[in-house]
C-alpha cells in the first residue's frame, strides 16, 4: 500500500494547507458577500412567505434558522467553514494526486501545478458556466438535478481534457471537444422566474471572487500535491529498499 499511503499523506498535508489559506481568503472575499446576501434573503422570507407555495421554484429547501441545527454566527460558523474547507481540499487533493499517479506522471511541483489548472477547469470553471456560484437568497431549480448536472459536467470536462492531453489523433480531439461542449448543449437545470431581492452587482462580485479564489486554490493544491507526493513516494521507496537490504 505504499502508493496509496503516499497519496493520502500528500493529499492530507496539501488539503490542510490549502484549506487554511482558502479560509483566510474567504474571510475577506466570499464570506462578507454571503452575509450581505443573507440580509436580503431574510427580508424576502419575512415579506413574502407566499412565495414558498410556488411549486416550480424551490428557493428555500432550507431556511436559515427555521429548521435543523445550524452553527451560531461568528466563531462557530467560521470554524465549521474552515473545517469543511480542509475536508473538501483533502478530497480534491486525493482526486488530483490519484489522477496523476494513475497516468504515471512524474511528480514535480510543476507537473502538479498543471494538473491543478486542469482541476480548476473541470471542477470549477465548466460547472460554473451553467451553474454560476450563487449567493444565498437566489431562487434556483431543485437541488438534485442541479447536482447531477454539476457532477456530469465535471466528469465530461475532465475526460475531455484528459483526451486532449494524452491522445494525439484528430478524431479523439473531436471527441474531447464534444465531451466538453455536450453538458452545455444539454443545459443546466434553470428556473423560468429568477426574481430575487439580492442585487445583481453583489452576485457579480461573488462570481468573480469565487472564481479567483478557486483558481489560486487549485494552482496551490496542484503544486503542493506534486511536491509532497514526490517527497513521500521517495521516502517510501527508501524504506522499501532498506527492508529488502
Amino acid at each position: 500500500m505504499n502508493v496509496f499511503r503516499s497519496i493520502v499523506f500528500s493529499a492530507v498535508l496539501s488539503g490542510l494547507i490549502v484549506g487554511i489559506v482558502v479560509t483566510a481568503l474567504q474571510q475577506f472575499g466570499t464570506v462578507p458577500l454571503i452575509l450581505q446576501a443573507e440580509i436580503y434573503e431574510k427580508a424576502t422570507d419575512k415579506a413574502a412567505p407566499v412565495a414558498h407555495s410556488d411549486a416550480a421554484a424551490v428557493p428555500h429547501e432550507h431556511e436559515h434558522g427555521d429548521e435543523g441545527w445550524e452553527p451560531a454566527d461568528g466563531f462557530e460558523r467560521n470554524a465549521f467553514t474552515a473545517a469543511f474547507n480542509v475536508i473538501d481540499w483533502i478530497g480534491f487533493g486525493l482526486l488530483l494526486n490519484g489522477a496523476f499517479v494513475l497516468f504515471r506522471r512524474s511528480a514535480t511541483w510543476r507537473e502538479g501545478f498543471l494538473w491543478g489548472l486542469g482541476g480548476f477547469a473541470a471542477i470549477m470553471l465548466a460547472p460554473g458556466l451553467g451553474l454560476p456560484p450563487e449567493l444565498p437568497g437566489i431562487p434556483a431549480a431543485p437541488l438534485g438535478p442541479r447536482q447531477i448536472w454539476w457532477i456530469g459536467t465535471a466528469l465530461a470536462t475532465a475526460a475531455g481534457l484528459g483526451l486532449i492531453a494524452f491522445r494525439r489523433t484528430p478524431a479523439l480531439a473531436v471527441v474531447a471537444v464534444a465531451l466538453i461542449v455536450a453538458p452545455h448543449l444539454i443545459g443546466a437545470p434553470q428556473l423560468a422566474d429568477l426574481h430575487t431581492e439580492v442585487p445583481e452587482a453583489l452576485s457579480h462580485r461573488f462570481v468573480v471572487t469565487v472564481l479567483v479564489t478557486s483558481f489560486v486554490s487549485w494552482a496551490l493544491l496542484g503544486a503542493l500535491t506534486g511536491a509532497f507526493y514526490r517527497m513521500f513516494s521517495r521516502q517510501e521507496e527508501r524504506a522499501g529498499t532498506a527492508a529488502f537490504a
Partner: protein
Amino acid sequence: MPMPATNVLSPAASKPATRAASTTMQALFAILFGALIIGVAGFSHIEAVHNAAHDTRHSNAFPCH
C-alpha cells in the same frame, strides 16, 4: 528467431506487471476515497451537514439550497 529470454513465471518478469497493476488499483482507490469525501462534504442533503458546510459550499460553487 530466438525466444525472448524473459519468462512470465520468473519473479523478475512478473514483478513489474504486478507492481503496475497495484499502482493503478491504489491510485483508483485514492480517487474513490476523494470522491466519497467530496460527496459527503459538498453534496449531502442532510440538513445539519448542509448548515455546517453552508459557507464552504457557496464559496466553492457547489449547488446549494
